[in-house]
Subunit: 221 residues, 2 copies
């Protein structure tokens, strides 16, 4: 995006296909007839593709070239399309992975740090997450309105993770006890809706610090 003077930059939404059928990353429903667990090479390629795609989308936005992604993952374009029949499939998987990572980070941070530090670090991580989300903005907006499962899924998980951290911090006395997790989430809303200036990241960082000061103020600990 920028180093691509002749690039292919369509500007339209064209999504008609297959959005009903979910990729379903963590599908362990007891009813599933175990659809055969992907050959090891296939799984390896798939993972590599997702990883490379995540980088590419972060760097170039959703318009990143799929052919380039395939190449960088060391597979043919055909392989990419077999795993992800549409661009959305790939975007969705990358996004879900991002959410997964964010929730996982919450557990990890909670284990390795004092409750208030864990919360603060997590919020900084949340800023990165939002940054990605903004990169994918248009696609995501469409995906989230088309595919309501995705929306409820992810927003539920994220706010759940945050709730856990806030409550733990409150319980440990590291932050004041009279706040609700949803209030904190609401405060973070400012990050999301803030204008897309170049200094957005620093601003957001400061917002998080400020918020933490507020949370620590008058804490028991």
């Amino acid at each position: 995006m920028g180093a691509d003077p002749h690039g292919f930059k369509p500007h339209i939404a064209r999504v008609e296909k297959k959005l009903t059928e979910q990729p379903s990353a963590t599908d362990e429903k007891p009813e599933a007839p175990a659809p055969r667990p992907l050959r090891v090479d296939a799984q390896r390629n798939r993972d590599k593709l997702v990883e490379v795609a995540a980088q590419a989308f972060a760097a170039d936005g959703v318009d990143a070239s799929l052919e380039e992604i395939a190449k960088r993952a060391g597979v043919g374009i055909g392989t990419l399309y077999r795993h992800f029949p549409t661009r959305e499939h790939l975007v969705e998987v990358v996004y879900r992975r991002e959410v997964e990572g964010l929730c996982h980070a919450a557990e990890e941070l909670a284990r390795d740090h004092p409750a208030d530090a864990a919360l603060e670090l997590w919020m900084q991580r949340f800023v990165d997450y939002i940054a990605t989300k903004r990169g994918l903005a248009t696609s995501l907006r469409l995906l989230l309105t088309t595919n309501s499962t995705l929306f409820s899924d992810t927003s539920g998980r994220v706010s759940g993770a945050m709730r856990g951290l806030v409550e733990a911090a409150a319980a440990s006395g590291k932050i004041r006890a009279d706040v609700d997790a949803s209030d904190v989430m609401h405060a973070l809303g400012g990050i999301y809706s803030a204008p897309n200036t170049p200094d957005w990241r620093e601003r957001s960082g400061r917002l998080v610090k400020l918020l933490m000061d507020g949370l620590r103020f008058g804490a028991r600990g």
Copy 2:
């Protein structure tokens, strides 16, 4: 869409550009410094493009080939892109034109027919409009969330036109007087949200007739 086995069918939303700057079909703001009224040949080409595009979108959906549209309009692809720098611009103009037509039809029908017939005919026309809107579904959804002016503009105009017809019919005694235009609009909602079956059109036609029977029931006239 179908007669295009090797066609270019991306499936992603890529809209970043120029959606702020409105095409503004009917821009007559007193502040505008009159941006020079388009050379006659240019205007002719532009009109032709919009007309052809309207047909193409109706026939093939928003994925209709822009090169094909340019060709059928008898201009080069470059001309199309000069007038409509992105596909959305074209979609938006076509859509606004559709809305315009619908509102204009309301006046015309009101002039040429008894009030109740005018309303019924207009509602049948409304079915066509919705059909178009469905054809453009994904693009429109994105456009309407991105560009809130477009939304308020058009929905306001359409419901205004309908209100006029309903009130005229009620005043003339051709339909019962105890209904509100917004109720009728609400009833028509069924058309929009109905599943996209092949017999959708007939169903909608019957819905309109049914609705008219309900409206005529117990009328003074």
